[in-house]
Symmetry: C2
Subunit: 282 residues, 2 copies
């Protein structure tokens, strides 16, 4: 158990992570760092953190520092932290993109004290109020470029995630970003675009509200996700996301062609191929 | 309470409807009609129905006949039933498209004994095993062209859905199909296309399986849905679905353009617009 842990960010991931550390008795005292005073106050009120401090002060006191903020801010903040830590402290992040961060940290003298992670859990909500108990359990957590970190640091971070009920997957950060584009980032773009489609075409909002069954709600759920989190993810993983997005548009065009040509056999084939996702997603 | 009810189809909607009728004590005896002997047998085993009979025999015995089969089969089967019923019996369907059926029935002498309905509930599963207890509750049910049915028939069918916990919405069948394209049919196409995108691009199935968090699963869930149900829906509602699909592709192209041009302001605007779906979907 750590005596003092710093959580940078007091939102969905960071707040849920802080709650989980307390619940699993992995930290005695949790210090929150937030650029926004109102968020820090809210996080204290909600009991996500025990104390709010400026970054330097917080890092100086902490054995473990966990960063979960938008991925554009992650790079300078992690670099700042790495300049402050000694070779007993451990730093980790929980961001949705990993390659840009990996490059930014490559030559840092304390690189081995950093562990690059991506717990594959989230909801469409954000801010301290979005933090929930029991997050992360049953999901995968990717640890990237483990060979670039000290074994002790990797083992400690792994052990935390395992105690939170996560299954560890190892990957290099470049591959992580490719896979994340397929299984997470494109889902968000699809969902945002679907919301915009319906909002554009369906002026009778009452009809959407009354008619939407579970199908629409589950497909469009991610469209509630915050731009402040997702714009930086899409920009950092731009090339992979564009690659998958182009494929997605071309797949939709196949449906369009099959309908335009009233080609029932082709439409059936497209749907039956999609059904193969059953093998993968239970 | 009805003495005898016929359910045509013994799948997700029909089977769940049969279970609900029994649970709410709305029917003493439920007769199932299925083209597939193995499905009828399964439905008997599962207790969805009390008896399996051919259509004619079943209709002759029943006060209420409920049809929930793929929408292409619905039209000839409902026409066949209408030729068999007297002016005390009530017929209703639960299909996802309503306009083609409405046109097909327009001149039938027994039209007034038919009630056109669409309970906005479903899952991605199909067949007798997909039937569940407690379906329908809390969702909307559309009743189309109510003025074309006898008041007594509409009131009886409404009362059943209300006892199942549904909220009734009235709409003409043409408008129903337009709205259904927005809030249901496009979600399925998006989900099928997303599954095909991932299956096409992501050859490492293990990676999808391990990395997919809740976001991907909820967006792609509908891609498990059966072609036998959805091909007829898309074909019957082809023009509306194409209209919405074209808009959806154009919305995705906006995301593509914003990424290609690295236009952060535009990308943010697209996402913030999508967030407005929060007003509509709780």
């Amino acid at each position: 158990m750590f005596n003092d842990v710093t959580i940078v960010g007091v939102g969905l991931i960071s707040g849920s992570f802080a709650l989980a550390l307390k619940e699993k008795k992995l930290a005695k005292h949790i210090i929150g760092v937030s650029r926004t005073e109102s968020s820090a106050k809210k996080a204290l009120e909600l009991g996500l953190i025990d104390e709010a401090l400026p970054l330097k002060e917080a890092v100086a006191k902490s054995e473990f520092i966990y960063v979960a903020i938008p991925v554009d801010a992650t790079i300078p903040v992690v670099l700042e932290i790495m300049d402050l830590v000694n070779d007993k402290q451990i730093v980790a992040d929980g961001g949705s993109t990993k390659f840009a961060l990996s490059k930014a940290l490559a030559d840092h003298s304390m690189r081995k004290r950093f562990v690059s992670t991506h717990p594959m859990w989230g909801t469409e909500y954000s801010g301290p109020e979005a933090a929930v108990h029991g997050a992360f359990a049953g999901r995968s957590c990717v640890i990237c470029d483990a060979e670039k970190s000290d074994n002790t640091a990797v083992n400690t971070v792994e052990d935390i995630y395992k105690q939170l009920g996560m299954h560890i997957v190892y990957m290099d950060s470049e591959n992580h970003d490719i896979h994340a584009a397929y299984v997470s980032h494109i889902s968000h773009i699809t969902s945002f675009a679907l919301a915009n489609t319906v909002l554009e075409k369906e002026k009778e909002e009452e009809a959407i509200f009354e008619l939407s069954g579970g199908g629409f709600e589950s497909t469009v759920r991610l469209a509630k996700s915050a731009a402040s989190m997702w714009v930086p993810v899409f920009m950092q993983n731009r090339e992979n996301v564009l690659d998958v997005l182009n494929e997605h548009i071309s797949q939709l065009r196949k449906f369009k062609a099959s309908l335009e040509k009233e080609n029932v056999a082709y439409l059936t084939e497209l749907i039956e191929n999609a059904n193969k996702i059953k093998k993968i997603i239970k």
